[in-house]
Amino acid sequence: MLRRLWTLAFAPLRARRGRPAALLALAAGCLALVFIEHTPLTLLQNAQFDRMQRQSPRDRSEMPALVVAVDEKSLAALGQWPWPRQTLARLIEKIGAAEPLAIGLDMIFPEPDRLGAASLRKLYPQLQGARLEDPDERLSRALERTPSVLGMAATNGLPPGARTALKVTPVLSRGGDARDGAGRFAGALASLPLLEASARGQALLNAQADPALLDPERGVLRRVPLMASVADLPVASLGPEMLRVALEAPAVQAWVRGSEITRVGVGEYSLPTRDNGELILHFGPFQADRYLSAVDVLEDRVPAEHLRQRFVLLGFTGTGLQDRVVTPLGEKVPGVDIHAQVLESLLSGEALTRPHWIRGLEGLVLVLLGLGLIAAVPRIRPTVAVKLGLMTAVLLFGLGYAAFHLGRLLFDAASLVTLLNPVFFILIGNTLVESDRQRRLAEEALQASRESAARVAGELDAAHRIQMGLLPDPASLFAGEQRFQVAAHLEPAREVGGDYFDCFMLGEDHLCLAIGDVSGKGLPASLFMAVSKSVAGALLRQHPEDLGAALAEMDAALSRDNREYLFVTTFVAVLDVNDGRMDYVCAGHDAPWVVHGATVSRIPVAPVSGPPLCACEGYPYQRGSARLAPGDRLVLTTDGVSEATDGREWFGNERLAHLLEQHGQEGDAVSLAEALRREVRQFEAGAPPADDLTLLVLQWWGPGARPQDPPPLSGR
């Protein structure tokens, strides 16, 4: 029952060698590929692309951007953050004096300094009227004098402090409105309008890490927006904005196709982006040598040349300040490092891309390879199929690596291999199940055929014994006979055959010898042989005096129920053992041989020989006569002798005649029969016998007693 349920449950998978199920799996795979962002496959995709980046990270030997870091050392020397704005102003002025290309502040000043004029007067009313240096104004002046870019944090919704009225340099859209495709934010947390006004530029600081599956806090940062739409204003991020300030360009440019952003940059420096203006950053390894301690800059421990003609970012690295991100390279770096890397990428023009057409290509490859597998796997052997599957995977991954290394294109081989897997395993599973079934069936068939062969062999063996038992044993039959000796050999070509011989006494003085050959060989012939021999035996005993009539009656009796149209050639002789007179009849049989001394002749049967029994209805068979001399040997054979072959030629009558001349006078009937049999078998040299082989040898000694000792008792 359980087995049946099991079989039923898997029946749909097994139907038509798994092809419909595989097709379904392929369709599901295509669907998953289309909506890949909503599947766990994105994890695999990201892991794969991260791995490629780790294997060949971006070269960072050029050092166009430096970070002046608010690090532990600076905090130790200058006290807790936030520092007084005068200190920051001095720091910016120090940097500015070294003539950098631009200074980017990865920080925001939304509230007035707590030691600003307003706060102080509130704390110390006695200061009313005194002229106080306002720290914000001080910072504002510093910003004004340097190529400075302030940061802002775009927000979803408007939390306290966030606003929609912002001072930004507009982004110039080309080919469409960049705001349509860009990420949208309601407002931003920006610096005081006073500071905003004095800085050369203001830029987006946002960079959202991809949420990790298990721990959203520990996501990996892979993409950085180069621009976004904040309060319906297109705003560039820190990298491009600093580049704009350095180049003194009027605007950052965004290339738009339809509602999708394709590139963002300034002048000749631009990078391809995703539709929403995000850059897929090709990360380089973290390099500590681009980090300068803010306190060292303040206290002139950094040579001015070091900062000259470079982009300088001002950011936090102090561990307490918690601005750290994880990169695809697996490093945990200060957030400001991302902006430095964006700048480096902009200058060298390096970015990773995953254009629309590559997703189309992935879909096409999935469908083609899937259909290819569905067509091929059920037709080939499982081992070949596994090799094919492995080759497909290797090919896809190879394509992925080639795309990354040659074109910085992100081709998602891992997802394709993953989606092809179910297709492949359904198919190969079915192939294995099928081949297992075939093997089992073949084994069962083999077992059955062995059993059946054994059974048939057993039956044929029994049939052989029965057939041999039908034949007389001349040695025992004529034991003690002094006037003649008979020897015989019958060897069927197969287990049973269609030849027979017979020898019996008709009264005291007449010996009947018969030899017959049923057409064909094997089992069919053997059945007819048995009938023929018994009919012949019965009729010859009935008509001992008229052989022709006996033969005609045999013909009639055998023809009566012979729907298979078998026929029998036969030669029958009746020898008067006292005087050597021999009557004979012949029905299409080879003429017997007579060995008289050294001469070998044949009984001239031609004038009386008729057609084989059952071949020609109602033929009037005639009797012939011959006379043997004492000592003569009569040799009857079937065509198993004359048509024995060694593969090149027949044994033939000439060879037989020659042998009879050679051996005809030696030994007795038994030894002659044995010699002839041996010669024929030697001639065949182990080749399977072509036909049943029968030999019947009579030696007539004449009316007197046999000259030698009684014949040895031996087999027929």
Binding site: V518, G520, L566, G588, H589, S609, G610, P611, A615, D639
Partner: protein, 114 residues
């Protein structure tokens, strides 16, 4: 083992080639059958040209015997012409020349049967 019908105005002439032995006698019978079907009363005789037959076994003779009976039942005439010596000897010894009309030449066969 192959049979080839030869166009002849006075007979259905069929060239027989190869050995007709225990293994090929079935094929011989099957190939012969379409020619036998036409061998009936009123039709020209079917003459098998045996000049291409190297050997015939008792199974082959049996096939010929069955063919003869078939033709006779349809009232047709069937004969064999032109033998290789060994095959002629087989027909002589087995006296199958009494079962099927055998002729040394095609002309003799045509003269007798057509």
């Amino acid at each position: 083992m192959e049979l080839e019908a030869v166009v002849h105005p006075k007979a259905n002439l069929v060239m027989v080639r190869g050995r007709i032995d225990h293994g090929s006698s079935m094929t011989f019978s099957e190939l012969l059958h379409p020619h036998l079907e036409k061998c009936k009363k009123g039709n020209p005789p079917l003459i098998l040209n045996f000049s291409g037959v190297d050997y015939i076994s008792s199974a082959g003779l049996r096939a010929l015997m069955i063919a003869t009976r078939f033709a006779r039942n349809q009232g047709g005439r069937l004969g064999i012409a032109e033998f290789q010596p060994l095959v002629r000897e087989v027909f002589g010894i087995s006296r199958f020349d009494l079962v099927i009309p055998c002729f040394d030449t095609l002309e003799a066969a045509l003269g007798e049967l057509a």
